[in-house]
Amino acid sequence: MDLDFSSDEQAFRDEVRHFLASELPDAIRDRMYRGDHSHVRNDIQQWQKILHAKGWGAPAWPTAFGGTGWSKTQQYIFENECSLADAPAQLAFGIKMVAPVIMRFGTPEQQQRFLPRILAADDWWCQGYSEPGSGSDLASLKMKAERDGDEYVLNGQKVWNTLGQYADWIFCLVRTDATGKPQKGISFLLIDMKTPGITVRPTRLLDGTFEVNEIWFDNVRVPVADRIGEENQGWTYAKFLLGHERTNIAGIGASKRELQRLKQRAASQPKGDASMLQDPVFATRIAQVEMELRALEITNMRVIFAEARQQAPGPEASMLKIRGTEILQCISELQVDLLGADALVQGGDGGEAARSTSAYLNLRKLSIFGGSNEIQRNIIAHMILGL
């Protein structure tokens, strides 16, 4: 048993750190630090192209498709270091979500057509899963895809499409059979966002940002050739997707970065003769979350270690998701509480107060998306506890 990284892993971490220090553009780093998402499309694409040029564009892909072939531990180290350095997160919808599905279930033509463009950030992908009536109960989705010769005709609505306003392509779960069990009549389609009949409307969120969209499909014609795998087998592919690339779901790097900033701010915020970092009440709350983060870091590495041996991304990822999001949300609460009444002031020059408050508001999403934390508890109860 050894909780420390091996010397090889440490050398790899140093290599990643060095790369981030020299190659991450200052303007992007600065915007990420300030929580400024006004250039999000550019920042993510530009960074992806830099990574791609280095050969690091797809940390989890096999080398045959242009990936790094890194171990799970290396992937974990890479993502944590990127978070710590304020690099933009890679766009998950392409690299982490649809790409593994295309690799596993797509035709060779689909693989050649889509994967290189995902890697090079030529195509921006988004996800069409949730619908107004289908959130946690995703299999109840209703968006219709009716067969008409070599095409499907799509009618319906998708919601919560993250960054879909920039998307070139969307992968959708659609209803191709409404007669049997809901899970048995779903197909997985790849759809060009320029297809006539698609309307995107950004949704204004509580922090004033436009991060998600509603998308309407009105007689949208999609080639059958752009379906993944078999008709009515889409649920299987969706489940495969959910089980993939959850190595970094706990967001350890992001939590460490934010906790470090919280402590720095607390140390520079006077209270009496000392600082808020010495305030027994406030510092105890920091201590509590830091201990939990320390434990989760080990738990995360344990899951990676087990995964690397059994090849099966287990339901343990649900634990990482719940605890990881709770910790990040807790840190964002503390950042607001530290500011006190200063956190009331919004807008203006986008100073620290506005950043912290916006983050607190925005991060409520963490326990909701990607399968709400309640759904994750269901998964733990069913899959791990066998209840």
């Binding site: 434990a295 269901n378 209840l387």
Partner: protein, 373 residues
């Protein structure tokens, strides 16, 4: 990064578990609990035969030399079986004290009988004053012509009544601490026996002008050494608690599958499922912290060591409380009875929370070392 165990380590865990399954089941444990001594000499002899009492004794001293990881795995099994014998007190903590602080002659004198199960030693350190400051010892040792005169009182000394030797921490001057080997049967030593909340045997140890010879003092700087010994023991205690937590959760899950109400197993109800999912997350975080405690308990950087141990004890204390309370709650009235093992684990976990510094004390320790580096 490596979370695997060597074959030897795995064998220690398997052997300990098999021993408990075959020789120390719940009914046997109840009989031991209700016996006059409250622990079993027969079991103690069997643990010695298995070599487990030589677990942490270095190989050059005739032991197994299994180190912190071995101590963790065996302690985990001890916690699973809720053993009532002085394993932690004698085979871990007191043995560690003699290994760390004993001269070659002292080690030769005491380690072999400790390993053979012929001698039991316990550390008598805690006092009311050490609760918030582990080195604030009031018991005094004053040098005289024949050695030392010992006066003071030690509280809740686990297994003191079973011990042949008490390792007593005492102040030898304004600042200096010493650790003294005191036979439990000599004049001036008075033990006031008690049963602890987790039904182990303990005593208040009172020392009134106890005359001990000069050779009874263990060498080295006792303050630095004591903290290292206490942290080593704390890591083993954490592992014990983890074993108990895992068992009480398993029992709860099984009960929720078997217990039918409203025509369905209560484990099919979402309110209870989510509670058990929460218990599992506490358990897994506790396991990680037990690993952290084990890997830091011999760290020579005392600050890093104490910080890691405090984080482990605090978070595991919280986990123990949540898991224990919810296990009783989910068992309903049955969780309140002496009949099921749940109430026994519950009390073992309560004792864990209270021993070696409470959850709050360790949270405070951790808070005080927060920095921005």
């Amino acid at each position: 990064m490596d979370f695997s165990f060597t074959d030897e380590q795995q064998m220690l865990l398997d052997t300990s578990r098999r021993f408990i399954t075959e020789r120390y089941d719940f009914e046997f444990r109840k009989r031991v609990r209700d016996s006059h001594d409250g622990w079993s000499r027969e079991t103690w002899g069997q643990l010695a035969e298995l070599g487990l009492l030589a677990l942490i004794i270095p190989e050059q001293d005739g032991g197994i030399g299994a180190g912190p990881v071995g101590a963790m795995l065996v302690s985990q099994a001890i916690g699973e079986g809720m053993l009532l014998e002085p394993f932690l007190s004698s085979a871990i903590v007191a043995t560690k004290a003699i290994v760390d602080m004993g001269s070659a002659q002292q080690r030769e004198q005491w380690l072999p009988p400790l390993a053979a199960g012929e001698l039991i030693a316990v550390l008598a350190h805690d006092e009311n004053s050490t609760r918030n400051d582990r080195l604030n010892v009031q018991t005094s040792a004053v040098a005289d012509a024949d050695g030392w005169i010992l006066n003071g009182e030690k509280s809740a000394v686990y297994h003191a009544t079973a011990a042949d030797l008490l390792l007593v921490s005492a102040r030898t001057g304004d600042k200096d601490l010493g650790l003294f080997v005191v036979p439990s049967n000599i004049a001036g030593v008075r033990l006031i026996p008690c049963v602890t909340v987790d039904e182990q045997r303990a005593a208040t140890a009172v020392f009134e002008d106890v005359q001990i010879d000069a050779g009874a003092k263990l060498g080295g700087r006792a303050d630095v050494a004591l903290l290292a010994i206490l942290d080593y023991g704390l890591a083993a205690l954490c592992a014990e608690a983890f074993g108990a937590m895992e068992k009480i959760l398993t029992a709860t899950i099984e009960y929720s599958r078997a217990r039918v109400q409203f025509g369905a197993p209560i484990g099919s109800f979402q309110a209870l499922q989510h509670r058990m999912a929460e218990m599992l997350m506490h358990l897994e975080q506790a396991r990680s912290m037990s690993y952290l405690a084990t890997s830091h308990c011999t760290n020579s950087d005392a600050r890093e060591r104490c910080t890691a141990l405090s984080a482990a004890k605090a978070l595991m204390g919280q986990a123990a409380r949540f898991i224990g309370q919810q296990a009783v709650q989910l068992h309903g009235g049955m969780g309140m009875t002496d009949e099921l093992n749940v109430s026994h684990y519950f009390k073992r976990l309560l004792a864990f929370e209270l021993r070696c510094g409470t959850t709050d004390q360790h949270l405070e320790n951790y808070r005080k070392q927060l920095d921005v580096s």
